[in-house]
Structures are given as C-alpha cells and as structure tokens.
C-alpha cells in the first residue's frame, strides 16, 4: 500500500487537481466527499466519490414555451443549452417520425398535447454522471486502462490498473464504495 509519507506529493497533488477539475466542470457541489487511493507497487489507482444531489429535475416549461398546434404541440426553445437533451428525450418518447425540428429553436411534436409535454422532465442526474466520469478520466493515470466501476445513486467508485484486474482489488473497491455511501460530507 502506498504510504502517505513516501508518496505525500502524489496524494496532495491528486487531491488538488481533482478539486480543480471538478471546479472547471462546474460539479464541485455535486461531490460531497471523495477518496483517492493508490498503490504503485501493485499497481492500482482508486477513486471513490460520494455523490451529492443532482440539480432538481428540469421541466420543459423552464426552458421552452409550448403552444398547441393543429398537428400536436409546437415547442419554442428559450434556453438553447437544453436543446440537445430535450430533443433526445422527445425522440426516446415519441420516436423520430413524430418529432420535427422546424428551425434551430422550434420543434413540432405530432399527436402530443401541451399538458402531456409540460409534465415532461429532463434528468440532470445523467448529465452529472457524464461530467463526473469526464473528471475521473482526466485525473486517472493515463496508463491505467483496465478499469472496474461501481456506481449507484449515492456513490461512484472506479479502480484501474495497468494489466490484469485482481479480485482482491475489486473487493477493495466494493468495500470503499460501501464506506463512501455512508461517508460524511467533507
């Protein structure tokens, strides 16, 4: 196991750069606590995060205006940042045939009512997970390509190594994941 004395620089540096990465991606507040463990002798590198609450779900009415149309409902997007997520969600629910993109900001959903669409919510949890995985990818030592991931709503643990993943490391990851779920926010 890497002694914190021997590798104190690495411990401090990884801690600093992970905080900076989270800040850069705008998700610092979504990670309540994190733990980085590594053993260069074995070698493995582990990072575990206790996830905070994702932003509350975003409703379609918060980012677009809905109007009834002869064929269904027309949507005028007011916050373009959400456009790709909204389009993906509409495609999933109504299929590509029923969703027509008229212009950059205007969509037409055939056969859908305004009430039905105004209840639609986008899931920011997915977006958060993508950003956290990006942060982990940026932090992880580049050569440690063999990875094992554990994730649930409360915590996410990723362990990586250079060659074969050993069962004892996966056990360690499971243990840390459990500890992380009940960890106090830092």
């Amino acid at each position: 196991m890497m002694s914190e004395e021997d590798e104190s620089f690495a411990y401090q540096n990884f801690d600093t750069i992970f905080r900076q990465i989270l800040q850069e991606l705008g998700v610092s507040r979504s990670v309540e606590a994190f733990r980085i463990m590594a053993d260069p002798d074995e070698p493995y590198f582990l990072i575990a995060m206790k996830l905070g609450r994702a932003r509350s779900a975003v409703r379609v009415l918060d980012m677009a205006q809905l109007d009834s149309h002869a064929d269904g409902t027309s949507i005028t997007i007011t916050d373009e940042g959400w456009a790709p997520a909204l389009l993906t969600k509409l495609w999933q629910r109504y299929g590509r045939d029923r969703v027509e993109q008229l212009t950059r900001f205007e969509l037409l959903v055939r056969g859908a009512t305004v009430e039905e669409l105004s209840d639609l919510e986008l899931d920011p949890g997915e977006e958060l997970k993508t950003k956290l995985l990006d942060a982990v990818w940026r932090l992880f030592p580049e050569g440690f390509k063999v990875r094992y991931e554990l994730a649930d709503d409360k915590a996410m643990t990723i362990i990586g190594t250079e060659h074969d993943m050993k069962e004892k490391w996966i056990e360690l990851a499971r243990r840390v994941q459990q500890e992380m779920c009940v960890a106090e926010a830092a």
Binding site: A10, I17, R138, G143
Partner: protein, 310 residues
Amino acid sequence: MYEVLMYDGGVYKVNELYELVEDVGGFVIQKTQIQVQIMVTMAIPEEERPAIEAKTRELGGKIVNVPLAGTEIAVVAPTLGRHHMPHPTCDIAEQLRRLGAITVVMGLARGKGRRTAQINADEKAVIEEYDAAVFVLGNFKDCIVEHKVRLFEDIQVPVAAVCGPQIPSLPNCEALVCGVGRKVERMRREEEIARLDEVSEAMERVIKARRKELEEDPLFVHPAEVKDRISELEAVQRSLRPAPVVLHLDGLRVKIPYQEWKDQIAAVEVYGHRLGDIATLSDSRLGGSTLIKIKTRSEVEAQDGKAGAK
C-alpha cells in the same frame, strides 16, 4: 568568443544597430517584429558588448540576457494526452523560450503507464537532434525511480528531468527539478513560477557545461556565421517557416529538404572552405529539414593537412 544578446525596442533606426553588429563582426540571429516593436537576437564578440549597449541606449531599447539563445531544446512529455498537456509541458517550453531557446514539445507514442512506459529508437534519435531535452514526469516517486528513468537512458544529449515528488537524485540525467508534478492549470502562482525558474536555471547549467565541453576543442566556425551564409540561399529565403534556420550549439537546423538541397548547402563557402568539407550534413528525422554539424578546428586542420600531403 561570441555572446548572444537580445535587443528589445522600437523599429525606429534599428538599421543602425544592424550596421553596428556587422561592423563589430557579429551576426543577427533572429528578428521578431510586432508592429513597431522588434526583438533582435544577435551574436557579438564578447568584448563588443559595451558598444552594443551604448547603441541600444541611444535607440531607447534595452538589452535582455538570453542565456539559452542559439540552442534548440526538446521538451518531452510521456504522451500528448491532456494528462500532460498543455500544463506543465507547455509552461516549461514557454519559460525556456523566454530565455532565448527555440523549443519543441514532443509526446512519446507509448510513454504512459508504469511498466508499459517505453521509448523507441526513432524517438531517441529525434531527441538527439536537439541540444538538450527536458523530460516532464508525473507524481509517483516509485513510478519515476523504478520505471520512468528508463525513458531517458542512453540518450546522447544532456537531459533535465522535471517531476513532482522530492527525489534526491536520478540516474541518466544531468539535472533534476522536483516539485512540479501534474497540473491542470497554468503555472502562475508564486511557488510555481519559482519552479519554472528552477527548470530554466537547471537548463542554463546544462547548456553552460556543454558549451564548456565544446570550447575544449572549438568549432571551426561559429554556427551563427554559417547561418549568415545559408540565409542567402534562395530556398531558405522562400521558406515560410517561422525560423527557417535554427542555431544549435554545434551546428544548425536548416528547414529545407535535405535530398533536394544537400549539394547547394554543401557548396556554400565559409572562410575559403566548402561547407560540405567543414561540416557533416544529414537528413533530419523530422521531415523537410537538414542538419548541419560543424566540425572542430582540429578536425578541419587534420583534414586540410591530409589533403595538402596528397
């Protein structure tokens, strides 16, 4: 002995400076003009420095010491991934550029990892084309001491290693700077700037030692003198690359294709000799460039002696 200096000032009457440099037997190495400001790197005989300083004062400019001028240095990262780029690799390269060096940033194809980190013969040969190399390593002491040191063993040019943890010494390198490690932001804090200064000081020491080594058996001509002649070649004048002729401590890199221009370059006359006779010309591993290694005075004399005997 030539001294390399940089004039930093306005373009007004800068021609007078060029004339003075020529009159004292010096050379202009590089001119970088930004609107009405100009930076001129020049090599002048050491004893003529007061004259150049006086002219600089007269023109309202200033003289900047550029201890690394006339060198080309490779800054090598284990890969070009965002784990090493742009910080700190590019920050170090920029620091060396500020002291006059021409730098290139290189990433190895398979330098990442621990036991998997490796460097191939081609990469070593490319690094050896430069005057010196800086290897920018990471955070884990064990990883650097046990594995990464292999990346720069057998490299024939001086190497400075930069890493994160405090390590008393490393084999295979001439200088070691600790306390840098991985960065995701520009190195702009006070302690980070101090580390960058340490890197450039280490590189200055390495280059100084190499210069001293070369002085023991001096080159037949200073590379700046050869540059002056080579710059007259039509192909060089037509070259659109930012610095078509780059000085090395013991030669030059001319950024025109070797195969096409080797005969013309060899035919350039320097102090009554063909350049081909007083230097070794070769193709650069980086496409489209020619490397010139100037022979030492004793080598040329021995060569002349043999030719005379025949």
